[in-house]
């Protein structure tokens, strides 16, 4: 290699293909892509940090409604059943249902809630120009890891399919918790479009030093 010595702190490597790029200021609203594999490396947006935190707090409040409000009301041949997500988790009816309800609780409630809290913990202080909290990097890394395992949007499609399946058997009406979950998915999706990983990591790094 004949090139002059590279300063690692001036560089950014593409996580997909390992190609090195010089760090540059990317204007807000623009996107910087990898020259080789076209992966978006940076997509900073104006006021992103504040929006992420506000949206994450909103989503977390909606999560409380999802857990405690009635989710679905079912009536069939004179019998009626109300169920909240909490009821479903607490209904330890038979052996096979138990691991399944735990999986649902984890994918739909616990992991998304932990992810939101991790994001608020890591990014919250940054919007007030405060130094990053201890373990902020670990919290944000956790949020990244949990992303594919937060499956609230998939659960909504599951609810829709389940409603079609029992349409002939019982009458089902959607409770407020269902709509809270729909709102939560929308808010989380909007929040994730503001998340520019590289910008957040760089801010966390500088705020830790100062």
């Amino acid at each position: 290699m004949t090139e002059t010595r590279l300063d690692p702190s001036e560089l950014v490597a593409c996580p997909n293909c390992d190609t090195l790029h010089h760090m540059q200021d990317v204007p807000e609203g623009a996107r910087a892509r990898c020259m080789r594999c076209n992966e978006i490396l940076m997509a900073p947006k104006g006021g992103a940090m504040t929006r992420i935190v506000v949206l994450a707090v909103t989503a977390l409040i909606l999560m409380i409604a999802v857990v405690f409000f009635p989710f679905l009301d079912l009536s069939a041949s004179g019998l009626e059943q109300h169920s909240s997500v909490l009821d479903a988790i607490m209904a330890f009816s038979d052996g096979m249902l138990l691991p399944l309800t735990f999986a649902v609780a984890a994918f739909v409630v616990v992991l998304p809630a932990v992810r939101l809290m991790a994001i608020i913990y890591a990014i919250g202080p940054l919007i007030f120009d405060r130094p990053a909290r201890p373990h902020a990097a670990r919290a944000f890394r956790l949020a990244q890891t949990l992303r594919p395992w937060s499956m609230a949007e998939i659960f909504i499609v599951g609810v829709a399919v389940a409603l079609v399946k029992i349409a002939g058997m019982a009458t089902v009406s959607l409770g407020p918790a269902f709509w809270a979950l729909v709102a939560l998915v929308l808010v989380t999706t909007i929040k994730d479009t503001f998340m520019c990983k590289l910008t957040i990591w760089k801010t966390l790094e500088t705020q830790r030093r100062s």
């Binding site: 490597a13 594919p148 998939i154 790094e205």
Partner: protein, 216 residues
């Protein structure tokens, strides 16, 4: 929206990778370090120039997912009791039942999520893992897109697991009507989780390394 590229560090072409420059990059946050650094200074993730155990873990999760995928399809997913009569439905049986009820769109969604995606995912991950060690017929960009599709779409197989969980916690009218999950619900959930872990274990940098080796 304007799209502008960051300047590559190895001007002029060919593009320089961190490994070629004798550096180690963090795949979590893009930070570049001198060789020998163990943990990323920015995000604290464990650093390795190339994840040497990646392929082993990909195949281990892949086989675990495949083995448990068979009981997931052979055993009942859903057990319905109506007035003393018991019906058992496998994954495919559930799709056929939806077709019988003329819910073609929902049948299509379930068929796609529970059968097409898992089968396609097994083939795609196997192909990606195979192609980094052998000559690939698909271009680097094609395989990168394939990898991103697998990562994005794989989780959606969970739909049927959620359907079973919702139905069995909702429909509990004792002898009139009740729905219980079958053993396949657990097997299928595990199969989806294992193949997600398999895809996550894959280091996409290996796709691009092959090209490097070829041009050198």
């Amino acid at each position: 929206m304007q799209v502008d590229d960051l300047e590559n560090a190895g001007n002029p072409t060919p593009l320089l990778t961190a490994r070629q420059a004798g550096l180690v990059a963090c795949t979590g946050c893009g930070r570049v370090h001198e060789q020998g650094v163990e943990r990323c200074e920015r995000c604290g993730a464990h650093l390795s120039s190339r994840d040497t155990t990646s392929l082993q873990r990909v195949w281990a999760w892949w086989f675990a997912g495949l083995i448990i995928y068979f009981p997931a399809n052979l055993y009942p997913m859903l057990i319905t009791n109506t007035l003393g009569t018991e019906y058992k439905n496998t994954i495919l049986g559930g799709v056929i039942e939806l077709i019988d009820h003329h819910s073609y769109f929902v049948a299509g969604v379930v068929f796609f999520a529970s059968i097409m995606i898992p089968v396609g995912k097994f083939i795609a991950i196997a192909y990606l893992a195979y192609s980094v060690r052998h000559r690939a017929t698909m271009s680097d960009h094609g395989r990168q897109v394939l990898y991103e599709v697998v990562e994005f779409i794989g989780r959606w197989s969970m739909i049927d697991v959620f359907v079973v969980a919702i139905l069995s916690s909702l429909v509990q009218f004792n002898f009139v009507a009740s729905i219980h999950p079958g053993i396949a619900a657990i097997s299928f959930a595990l199969s989806v989780a294992f193949t997600m872990l398999s895809a996550q274990s894959f280091d996409p940098r290996m796709i691009w390394d092959a090209e490097e080796a070829a041009t050198e």
